[in-house]
């Protein structure tokens, strides 16, 4: 059974043609927290509907179910009739207000109640400019998510992805819900492999603008770009070390695709080779402690995922089933590895529990690519194809709750989920 919850409307506008993620729920028996989210008092006069943004965020996580609040008249100062919300089977209640300040900013206030225990869980207030009202709503969703699940929310984080329309390529930065997309780079040549720096201020990526693959580091807020790898041959697959000082990358300057470490703090320094082989070594990714690198190699005859210490030593093989395992990505909590495995000719997103090596496919699509974890390790974003069109998907790690961001006038690909905002 597949049910499509259309929790938002799609804009048909040139500038925001990629619109929002739409949630698709599959599977039954999910444990979801029932939450009542009342309209924020005054939000009809504000540029953003705070309550519906918060609700859409929480539903996309797969861990919440919204309870009808029509007819309620609440804000953060109310003393709600808890027993009536208990009767509606809400476990939690959120209310708040938005008001315009004399200086033009908006004062956003909220209060969260635990309906089961009948007590207030806390509140927040902040004054923001109109352009930051969406961010304020995402931060409220993060607050609610953390209070009710114990995990940090990721609704105020950002994602990067690439679109292709004709021979036009764009690198975009958008909110985690797919909204507010802004183009960071426009090019007539392909752009692949964008990777957020640990601070969330820079993107490393591969650009073909020089008619060969070279690697740039791009400061998102200013647009300032630095060409960090333009060695003879191909330069690709950039990955940041957790401290942001080193870039792991694939260079072919010595013949063959080989892993290298580049010291970013020391301009002009020589890359250092690791995991040397006479085969393909590529797609490096650091572990959260920065001590190991997972990567793809065909040294055993077919592409498989290996793990090597940054300090050196022999790589050890990580994947053993299947003849094509690529694009490893590690959860920030260190528990999971997501990767793409070819199964009967189909390329499927898999999630492996690293402690046990148990892995399973979590999609029913056939051309999955390039997964990355949300910073709280609870969700994945990846690219795929549906009805012959490229789309981006988010999914819970068990594959039960997915949301889709469709490309409307072209292709959409190469997602990367950014870190927590600092």
């Amino acid at each position: 059974m597949k049910k499509i919850l259309t929790i938002c409307f799609l804009f048909v506008l040139q500038t925001s043609a990629w619109a929002q993620f739409r949630v698709e729920v599959s599977g039954v028996g999910l444990t979801q927290i029932p939450i009542a989210i009342a309209s924020f008092r005054g939000e009809d006069a504000a540029p953003q509907k705070i309550a519906s943004l918060v609700q859409a965020d929480l539903e996309r996580s797969g861990q919440f179910r919204a309870i009808d609040t029509s007819g309620s008249n609440l804000d953060e100062t109310s003393r709600p009739d808890i027993s009536s919300w208990r009767q509606k089977s809400a476990d939690a209640l959120l209310a708040g207000s938005v008001s315009r300040l004399a200086d033009g900013r908006f004062d956003v206030r909220m209060q969260l109640w635990d309906v089961v225990r009948g007590q207030a869980l806390g509140g927040q207030s902040k004054a923001v400019v109109a352009a930051d009202l969406r961010l304020a709503a995402h931060e409220i969703a993060d607050y609610v998510y953390e209070k009710l699940t114990g995990d940090k929310g990721v609704f105020s984080t950002r994602i990067a992805y690439v679109t292709k329309r004709g021979q036009s390529f764009n690198l975009w930065v958008a909110d985690a819900d797919g909204e507010s997309a802004q183009s960071a780079l426009a090019s007539t040549e392909p752009i692949i492999s964008p990777a957020w720096s640990p601070t969330g201020r820079q993107l490393a990526y591969v650009s073909f603008e020089a008619r060969k693959p070279t690697i740039y580091v791009h400061e998102v807020a200013t647009g300032k770009r630095r060409l960090v790898a333009n060695f003879k041959g191909s330069n690709s697959a950039p990955a940041w070390s957790p401290d942001g000082k080193t870039l792991a990358l694939t260079l072919s300057r010595d013949g063959g695709s080989q892993l290298n470490l580049l010291d970013l703090s020391n301009a002009g320094s020589e890359p250092r080779r690791i995991a040397q082989s006479s085969s393909i070594d590529t797609e490096p990714v650091f572990t959260a402690d920065g001590r190991h690198i997972y990567f793809v190699s065909d040294r055993g005859g077919s592409p498989q995922i290996y793990r090597v210490a940054v300090s050196g030593g022999n790589p050890e093989r990580v994947t053993f089933s299947g003849s094509y395992n690529i694009s490893p990505t590690l959860s920030p909590d260190g528990r999971w590895m997501a990767y793409i495995s070819r199964v009967n000719g189909a390329f499927k997103l898999h999630v492996m529990e690293l402690a046990t090596g148990n892995a399973s496919a979590i999609t029913d699509t056939n051309a999955d690519e390039r997964p990355s974890f949300s910073p709280n390790s609870k969700m994945l974003i990846y690219a795929t194809q549906q009805q012959g069109k490229e789309a981006l998907m988010t999914s819970t790690l068990d594959g039960k709750i997915k949301a889709r961001l469709a490309g409307q006038n072209g292709d959409i690909r190469e997602p990367n989920w950014g870190p927590f905002q600092k």
């Binding site: 500038t15 008619r211 647009g223 770009r225 690709s236 694939t250 013949g255 393909i280 390329f347």
Partner: protein
């Protein structure tokens, strides 16, 4: 509801006017040697692009006939490969010899060999596979007497198909290495 759509739309439009970078306007700090020439994609490989074409359609593009500055006239420049293979088939040996002879004749000439794959599989892994193809051609040219310093082997992976489409015929045309006289 309608009002919200309009207002949100305006906000989206305004915020979309952010700091997009146009490639020709940005100062770039190059810390690792020279950037290669800014030849701007005047390659026949793009000729088959375009939407509104039937999926099964295969537009035939013959790169050996496309004009490229400095390319030898009447000499084919594209080596095609079998699926998952980097072996230069015997039928392309005369192409290698003809290009090698041409490159040998001008020691100042620089030539780039561009490897490509079909659309199956991941982008980065395909980039590495395309690199294997371009390096197979580079090695064959060196064996045919070309100085290695005149050659650079690079890869476009699956990013620049010669032919659009997912048919076997299209994919055959995309598994290739092009000898490029930029």
């Amino acid at each position: 509801m309608k009002h919200t759509v309009v207002i949100l739309g305006l906000v989206a439009m305004l915020s979309a006017c952010g700091s997009s970078v146009k490639l020709d306007k940005v100062p770039v700090e190059d810390r690792s040697g020279s950037t290669s020439g800014s030849g701007n994609g005047a390659n026949g490989a793009n000729g088959a692009d375009g939407s509104g074409v039937a999926k099964s359609n295969v537009a035939s593009v013959d790169l050996s006939k496309s004009a490229q500055d400095g390319a030898p006239q009447g000499t084919a420049r594209v080596v095609y490969f079998d699926y998952d293979s980097f072996v230069i088939k015997p039928e392309f040996q005369s192409l290698i010899e003809a290009n090698a002879k041409y490159i040998r004749a001008d020691k100042a000439r620089k030539v780039v060999i561009e490897g490509h794959t079909d659309e199956r599989g991941g982008r980065e892994y395909n980039l590495a596979l395309g690199q294997k193809r371009s390096e197979a051609v580079r090695k064959a040219l060196v064996l045919a007497g070309v100085a290695d310093g005149q050659l650079e082997a690079v890869s476009f992976g699956k990013e620049k198909p010669a032919v659009q489409g997912s048919t076997e015929a299209a994919m055959e045309k995309n598994r290739r290495a092009e000898i490029s006289y930029r």
